[in-house]
Symmetry: C2
Subunit: 318 residues, 2 copies
Amino acid sequence: MAKAAGVAASTVSLVMNKKGYVSDATRKKVEAAMEKLNYIPSEVARNLALNRTNTIGVIMPSVSHPFFGEVIEEIETALYNYNYKMMLCCTQHKRNGEPTFVDMLKRRTMDGIIMGAHSIDVSLYANLTQPVIAFDRYINDQIPIVHCDHSLGGKMAAEVFLQHGCQHVVEIVGYQGIRTPAHEFHATAAEQLRNSGVRVDVAELPWNAFNYQIYSAVAQKLFAQYSHVDGILGADLSIAACMHVAAATGIRVPEELKLLAYDGTAVTRMGSQPITAVRQPIAELAELAVSKIVKMVNGEQDNRPWTIAPKMLPGATV
Amino acid sequence: MAKAAGVAASTVSLVMNKKGYVSDATRKKVEAAMEKLNYIPSEVARNLALNRTNTIGVIMPSVSHPFFGEVIEEIETALYNYNYKMMLCCTQHKRNGEPTFVDMLKRRTMDGIIMGAHSIDVSLYANLTQPVIAFDRYINDQIPIVHCDHSLGGKMAAEVFLQHGCQHVVEIVGYQGIRTPAHEFHATAAEQLRNSGVRVDVAELPWNAFNYQIYSAVAQKLFAQYSHVDGILGADLSIAACMHVAAATGIRVPEELKLLAYDGTAVTRMGSQPITAVRQPIAELAELAVSKIVKMVNGEQDNRPWTIAPKMLPGATV
DNA sequence: GTGAAAGCGCTAACAA
DNA sequence: TTGTTAGCGCTTTCAC
């Protein structure tokens, strides 16, 4: 390419990157040659020379799950706006997905990682030289976490049940063996409710279980076990399952039973009755995570807080 | 690294890649040094030297859509099994996502592309030197397509309505301005039904519209327009929307109205009534697309057919 | 078996 | 303003 244009390689570099001073004459010359050969520079060579790939790895448990799907979509969009590409690793059904992926980070295939998987072994993330951000997930003391203000969310949720005079609330919570700030949501809600004399019971989901059958089974068991429940709090799909089981059982929502979802993804809009939800601001969280990791990659300072408040999403189930 | 081990770089390369002959003594020496420095080779340098990245780009309209979400998840899994990484581009909400992404292909950031977006302008894909495979999508005559046997699917669907004696079927079809083999599904079903004297009407969705509100609006309009419809055929979410509108209107499913979904993703299992569906074998399609693109990247031959048959997925809506 | 040397295609520092 | 040189970290001949 350089010789075709009759200039040095470095000059071509300057033209491509619009850097330094290049006379109009040689610029034209170079551009003409680029045009003629329809030359396209190798990103890989560039990556090697610059020691950066403009790629961020994203680790999530699942893609085909409403919450993570939306998270991934928003992260990818945000990365795109920052001129980064996304490599995705989905851990749910792989034996060694996560170690393999972290290894790619070490091999410098990507500049950093946004990690949101529900892994039990997080020792992988010790002593990494590249930046890692956790998405709603506690990994270790070195790794900062972008998350929703779950404690506030829990208060908002409790408030809803209290306002409607619920006496017995069941919370369907995620697997407690992983450490995520999201547990705070249920803990806070439970605390507030109990402080006001409401009975609170807890049903725990198994680990990395993201399919509807499981939610449905949990819902059925819940109704069998707690026949006088008048409020249920859980993630979107758990609540959707409860709504269907309630309908099948002849329990009227919201008259006899209040259902409140946490997350507020599209599935809460998809039933015959929209589900009332405390919504995690997924797009904002994604944008925040991306802006943080990009700053870290570039060694820049960022003072935005790591937490974003949830919002109430109106519906017809309370 | 080489000097630390007291050997030449080329020897280190041989050891890392388990290639050629290396004496046990020097192998140990190298491995010891790798251990000590906890040396990790640069994938980027490797990519440059080998002119391949082991990365496949995937372009889809959306992530947070049940069909595409599942497709992406399965593609990523299949790629992982072939030792490839996935770069994802989601086009739905971006101005220039697709051209930018194809440009990355030209810059050799990835070895090939699996393309499943609903783009209207496909001129981007002319004259590419790297392999591209279309996923259920017609791009141009050079680009092969992995897809479900939609024609068979259409026959299966028609058969269902005929068996149940439907007289007036409405098909909710995707935007017709893009060219996808999937249109064949509705065309075949319509033809078969009309041949048997069934009235068939068609409702068309707008382009790149993947949110539930739109499906819901289409469903409402459909019932208003065709008051005597006794069968509806459409993609999962369209049918889910119809089910809810029917419930709200007091139309009994399946007694008065048969609903049959095409795709058969998890959402058809999620309502109070599981939706009967003609299921696209997404995992198999994904695996096929991946195995094809990998073969193409490696210049190998592959004789598997490009098409896979759909299957009936039982439910309670016909 | 192993090392020296060239090359992958770019960027950066420095001269000219 | 532009060219020269060195270097990013690996792989691959090809001597030794």
